[in-house]
């Protein structure tokens, strides 16, 4: 059974009571969704390109061990130090050990969802280190002691007034809610940190096996600063981030920005290969890549779920999802919210209690439609639901209801008998125009909607009367 107090449904209900949250999520995510649609529509080869990207990523995942070894070999050849971590705790320890050797100044951080997965900031602070988020959205999240609600635009859940009050409180400034002024404050504060930092930590959008390179996409320039000024660069990456060849990158760079932000290209894309070369006067002297498993190999073990690891974290499925757009990212209580989070959550990637997430979907398939690597998200959600029910995670009423439904739909006489029973209740329902609340254990269903009156005639009867809808009445 799902824990009642901390399930997705309860958190969803909480989110809906938050002032203006629903409106902000609707507006912002819908904007992202329409910008993506516009960008995709301008490329006639869009669907073919997505199919190609799917093929490259599925091939990569099926040969992941080989590509990991190829990447490691090539990265090490140019002087990058490659570390593997089975668990989040191991990765945290690896970062902390490197950072402790370079204690002067703060650790400047670029946006990285893997670092959220590790809860890296809290652990580094506990070790006496000073991690500082430098992406504006992540900087705001860190100041607020909050967590990101979207994998691309982390503070989608806050409005400018809330951010203005936060800056006034935490930074001791006069209140302003002007985005330009707030950004200028962050730029000034963080520029000082960049100039003093000895260690820069980033994620990685892609790792290139045949060159041993790290690819990073961004708009602000903070990731470039993190990988240019500090003496040490640490890149955190999930095992699935690999592309076989540099030649593949061109195709993926035509997809990722368009899907993530609707841009043809993000402001900056860096292709980094090893530490600074002999004689160069800038760039990191040490480059580390930490390759994180943390549940990914378990996902790999199921041939159906393997495709989940082809995700390039563009965020398009979040913006496309009517559930996400209504409740926002925090309701998922997972590092990865939205449809992709519902696939990763049950494997403890990003959350410790994600088994009920696959149930929080209308299965409309909008996520499947926008995915640039054609992950069949909707069917995978069904697959994960089946798995959850088989392992005893579905609740009693849900299971009983569906086994009754399943039986009824397989035996026509039984179904008709049920329909006849419904007729008995119809008279009562017609008088009241539907039921405000269902009795007993069914009350949950009618908590947020009325039970509608039954149709005057069953579909079966309508079909017979109209010769399958061919005769207009």
């Amino acid at each position: 059974m799902r824990p009642e107090a901390d399930d997705f449904r309860t958190r969803t209900a909480d989110s809906l009571t938050k002032d203006g949250l629903k409106q902000r999520c609707q507006t912002n995510a819908w904007l992202g969704h329409t910008k993506r649609a516009h960008a995709a529509a301008q490329m006639p080869e869009w669907q073919q390109l997505c199919a190609w990207a799917r093929d490259v990523k599925r091939h990569t995942v099926e040969h992941l061990a080989d590509y990991l070894e190829e990447f490691t070999r090539n990265a090490e050849r140019v002087g990058t130090q490659v570390h593997y971590a089975s668990t989040a705790a191991e990765a945290v320890q690896q970062v902390a050990e490197i950072a402790k050797q370079h204690r002067e100044g703060p650790i400047t951080k670029g946006k990285s969802m893997v670092s959220e997965e590790l809860h890296l900031n809290g652990h580094l602070e506990a070790a006496g280190l000073l991690p500082l988020e430098t992406d504006l959205g992540e900087y705001i999240v860190q100041l607020a002691g909050d967590r990101p609600s979207h994998i691309i635009t982390p503070v989608m859940h806050m409005d400018r007034q809330q951010i203005g009050r936060l800056f006034a409180d935490k930074l001791g400034l006069d209140y302003t809610d002007d985005p330009q002024a707030l950004t200028a404050v962050a730029r000034e504060r963080l520029r000082e940190a960049f100039l003093a930092a000895a260690v820069g930590v980033t994620g990685a959008n892609f790792l290139i096996a045949d060159t041993g390179s790290i690819v990073l996409a961004e708009n602000e320039g903070n990731i470039r600063l993190c990988t240019t000024l500090p003496r040490v660069h640490i890149a955190l990456a999930g095992l699935e981030k690999l592309l076989p060849r540099l030649a593949d990158l061109g195709g993926f760079l035509r997809l990722l920005p368009r899907c993530g932000t609707g841009q043809k290209m993000t402001g900056y894309v860096s292709l980094l290969t090893g530490p600074r070369r002999a004689g160069e006067v800038e760039g990191p002297e040490e480059v580390h890549v930490i390759l994180l498993d943390n549940g990914r190999s378990a996902l790999l073990a199921d041939p159906h779920k393997r495709q989940i690891l082809t995700c390039i974290r563009c965020g398009a499925c979040l913006n496309a999802c009517p559930v996400y757009r209504t409740v926002g990212g925090h309701a998922y209580d997972s590092v990865y919210p939205g449809p992709i989070g519902k696939l990763l959550g049950p494997h403890s990637i990003g959350t410790d209690h994600g088994t009920d997430l696959p149930f929080g979907s209308s299965l409309c398939g909008a996520c499947t439609e926008v995915c640039p690597v054609k992950i069949d998200i909707a069917h995978l959600l069904l697959y994960l639901r089946q798995e959850a029910v088989k392992s005893g995670h579905g609740d009693f009423l849900w299971n009983a209801g569906f086994s009754a439904w399943s039986t009824a739909t397989q035996y026509a006489p039984l179904y008709r008998a049920g329909a006849a029973l419904a007729k008995l209740g119809r008279a009562a329902l017609d008088r009241t125009g539907g039921l405000e609340a269902l009795p007993g254990p069914l009350a949950g269903w009618s908590r947020t909607r009325a039970f509608p009156p039954f149709a005057k005639r069953s579909f079966d009867q309508w079909w017979k009367d109209t010769q399958g809808g061919q005769e207009v009445e």
């Binding site: 912002n28 490691t72 593997y84 971590a85 320039g221 402001g267 800038e282």
Partner: protein, 229 residues
């Protein structure tokens, strides 16, 4: 050891299969619709795309100009220095820079080459303008591709509030995949890649607060490109 245990876990996981053969690496390169290779058309597309990126409501964040001669390029640089009140310039050395930056232009400002630790990295944050050449320009996206090959500084295009790029018409390519192709055609590929390639597309920007576009975020506020014959 972590490496072995992770790789073993991955290998172990991959022994289960659907029955179907695992997908092969796609034989065909990424599909794309036809593109022009005419330099004039590419140049027009680049300038148009770049100008779109550089304009937002009534604000301007740079410009791209195609010039007919070195003299015209010098006039553009001179006018830009005057208009932006540029006093301190740092530059990455390049043959194109030597050709365009006349002694007169160098004397107009406090001119430094970013070639020593004192004129690199964090020390560049006090300069008004960073000047670089580039590897190529991508017409479809309005992107500039720069690299650290031949000691080109990374911070010159990042820390000063204005970035000026010099390029030639012959450096235009249709789109990002062509630029990647150019990298792959460099001598020494894939064994001897420069430490950093950077695609630069417009000014440093953010829209994290209520999706309102703000320029600059952490990098330059303005980017200018002068395209010589």
């Amino acid at each position: 050891m972590s490496k072995e245990s992770v790789l073993n876990a991955v290998r172990g996981a991959l022994t289960t299969s659907h029955g179907a053969a695992p997908p092969a690496y796609p034989v065909e390169p990424a599909p794309r619709s036809a593109v022009t290779t005419d330099p004039d058309a590419l140049c027009r597309e680049f300038v148009q795309e770049f100008d779109k990126l550089a304009q937002y409501e009534d604000q301007r964040f740079g410009a791209a100009w195609r010039v007919a001669s070195v003299d015209e390029a010098r006039a553009r640089v001179c006018a830009l220095f005057a208009r932006e009140d540029v006093r301190q310039v740092c530059a990455s050395p390049s043959p194109l820079l030597d050709e365009v930056l006349s002694d007169a232009l160098r004397q107009q400002v406090d001119f430094t080459l970013a070639t020593t630790p004192e004129t690199a990295g964090a020390n560049l944050s006090t300069f008004d303008l960073g000047l670089t050449d580039c590897l190529c320009l991508c017409a479809r996206t309005g992107s500039i591709l720069a690299s650290t090959a031949e000691m080109v500084s990374r911070a010159v295009s990042l820390l000063p509030p204005v970035h000026l790029v010099l390029a030639r018409v012959g450096q235009l390519v249709p789109d990002i995949p062509d630029a990647i192709g150019l990298i792959a055609s460099m001598p020494g590929f894939p064994d001897d890649l420069p430490a950093a390639y950077t695609f630069i597309t417009g000014s440093s920007r953010t829209s994290d607060i209520e999706k309102v576009l703000v320029v600059p975020a952490h990098g330059p506020r303005e980017v200018f490109v002068i395209i010589l014959p």
